[in-house]
């Protein structure tokens, strides 16, 4: 029996395409709300006088902050969200038989800390999509590479991300 392909033509068309996303200015409030929610009260994220005495020279964001945010910008309206709340209703068809999506993980490289006031953009490229056979049926591994740069075109973080669609 042949397993039906979960990778539709529309999905396949995304491979190799680079997209640029403007994240805008990263504020002190953004950074601190994120760290507080994690329960990470490291003074590097909260205490300017403390952070100034360290090689960081001032408050920075938790290293994985930029890559933890799912949607930069306003995102879709509620009525445009797919049933799982994650995707877009209009893409549900394009995503064919794959209905559930999970974050597989990330490989991050940190080049420079992110500071309040940085204006950041992200360059994303889908590297590959591969269908595999798991215990509970077929799934697709989607690997994307993201590069985050600041207003001086300095590389901040690179991220190789694996998403699982089943």
């Amino acid at each position: 029996m042949t397993t039906p392909s979960l990778i539709t033509d529309e999905l396949r068309a995304q491979i190799g395409v680079e997209q640029e996303t403007l994240l805008g200015e990263i504020t002190l409030l953004d950074i601190q709300r994120y760290a507080l929610t994690v329960g990470d009260l490291n003074p590097l994220y909260f205490d300017e006088a403390y952070a100034k005495q360290t090689p960081y020279g001032g408050i920075v964001a938790p290293p994985n902050y930029l890559t933890a945010v799912i949607t930069w910008g306003v995102g879709p309206q509620e009525g445009e969200l797919s049933r799982d709340g994650l995707g877009l209703r209009r893409n549900e068809q394009a995503e064919g038989n794959a209905r559930r999506r999970m974050a597989g993980g990330q490989e991050l490289e940190f080049h420079q800390p992110v500071r309040p006031g940085d204006v950041v953009r992200c360059l994303t490229r889908t590297e590959s999509m591969e269908q595999r056979e798991g215990r509970s049926g077929p799934f697709v591994l989607i690997i994307t590479e993201q590069r985050y740069v600041n207003q001086r075109d300095e590389l901040l973080v690179t991220c190789r991300q694996t998403a699982i669609m089943r």
């Binding site: 990470d40 590097l44 909260f46 933890a68 709340g85 993980g105 940190f110």
Partner: protein, 149 residues
Amino acid sequence: MTQAAPPQQRLFIEDVREGTEIPPLTKHPTPVTLFRYSAVTWNAHRIHYDREYAQTEGHADVLVQGHLHGAYLVQMLMDWIGPRGLLKKFGWSNRRPGFAGDTLTCRGRVTRVYEARGEHLADCEIWEENQRGEVCAPGTATVALPSRG
């Protein structure tokens, strides 16, 4: 709000060798934690805040976000290396779901100490496990540490 930790470095490359254990970090994510983490990361995925929906996908309760597993591991590493250490690389994968109400403990150990491009580096294996000792999120990290010498 802030910790009383001194800005002086507490950990040096001379303090670590293969097998050195990273002080563990224990976290207790609640439904409020997960709701707020979805909010600050603008993540509308219903499995993290809608228990009934999560059950339709076969989960017992609302799920800890994959990125929150990562964030806990980062917190353990940043606490350990201190303000003069640098996190150079970090990776993890989400292997087993965590749920609101779980006790999640991050652990790790040094696997290699070496020098490269003038930096003193330590590679580490890290993982986050639940209250039953099951690994939810294994990973690796490379940190740079100052030298006493």
